[in-house]
Amino acid sequence: MVFSQYGSIFSVILFTVFLFPAVALNLCGKRIKYYGMLLNIPMLILLLGFHSIQMLQFVVFIVCEFILIYGYFFLHNRIRGNGFYFFVLAASMIPIIAIKLCVYTPYPFNMLGFVGVSYISFRIWQLIIEIHDGHIEKLNFLDTFYFVTFFPTLSSGPIDRYHRFLADLDKSPAKSEYLEDCLLNGLGRIVKGMVYKFGFAFIINEYIMLRLPEEHTVWSTIIYMYAYTLYLFFDFAGYSHFAVGTSYILGIKAPENFDKPFLAHNMKEFWDRWHMSLSQWFGDYIYKRFVLNTLRKGIFKNRKTASRCGNMVTMLVMGIWHGPYLYYILYGLYEGAALVVTDIYLKSKTFRTFKKKKYYDILSRVVCFHVIAFGMLLFSGYMFSF
């Protein structure tokens, strides 16, 4: 039997029960690290199945990617130039590209893929880039394997950072610190996740979205836009509460994914509050590198132009990463354009005067929410399914 991660109250409770030995270990003054590593194996089996095609793909994928990572780790200092680096990066991307594109192939090839492949890939690419940058001097196999396949955040993140993860892994917090910071906080997060996902998200889906007429009208589209935006937030923020809470109890303070996103005043602020671990990943590994390299090489003379092109490229990649569909490409272009317009707006005189007005807070939040909601409507594909 395969479980969808945090997909039902039963699976959340089951996953939480397996954390009790970790609590006991800490309270006895022992390290949680090795219990977590051991627990990871049955948990992966619960999520992927044992004799399943998913598990087979997972094993082949992990073995190949680890050969790449270790091959690159041992050889990168001996081979000059960036050719080898780009080759390794490209090779590590083959599985995810194949999995995303297989939707256009006939059965059974279109069944390719397994839970968490996107998020595991983010961690793998991060390792390859960090090895290239000279940030990784030692690559302990067990630690790296645990980082890449860490079960609480397997299916949809948050995307942790290697050095941050290792630092937590080797920490052994004192009893009182663990009880308050990790256990109580973690359990609280899991309860919050229940309310978000099985309360709010469930109700919105059950009583609004599923009751809309089959035929799409302007009205049904508007209602769907609001409902889907709230649904996606509660569903994903709920999932993130489970993932972060579970990680905390295992002693890993996984990064946050949401910080009251609908209170954002503009789209730039929105991405600092929504799916933060992903937007920071894209910021560090795509946007900033694009801007840095294009300015370094003099491809752009003007930093604003470089930044705005960087916004478009980053958001387009983010859109396409969700899947090879037209509406994801449109979604990426829309979010990129929204960032460019926001950048122009934030640097304008209008903004400086507007910011001092009494109604600035409320008006900019209402407008920003609608820009967000329209993006979500594009993302949902609702307008493209008849």
Partner: protein, 80 residues
């Protein structure tokens, strides 16, 4: 030390495009809306231009440029 302080201020002033960074060395530049991710890239470019130290975006953490004082500490490690 004083040189690094001046270097930090010069770089941040160029990156944030305002001399407001000189007013308070403990001012949170993100909260004040003076610095953003583009500015953090310009910090790297300016550092490279002035000292020849070539860094990657992940070398510079958010805390390193949150305040002028934090950035001075960062420079002490990387340049000093």
């Amino acid at each position: 030390m004083e040189n690094l302080q001046e270097l930090a201020l010069d770089i941040l002033e160029a990156a944030c495009e305002t001399d407001e960074v000189r007013e308070d060395p403990d001012l949170d530049l993100f909260e004040a809306g003076l610095i953003d991710s583009l500015a953090s890239v310009v910090v790297l470019l300016e550092l490279e231009k002035r000292t020849g130290v070539k860094l990657q975006p992940t070398d510079l953490e958010r805390e390193d440029i949150t305040t002028v004082n934090n950035f001075v500490k960062f420079l002490e490690k990387k340049v000093g």
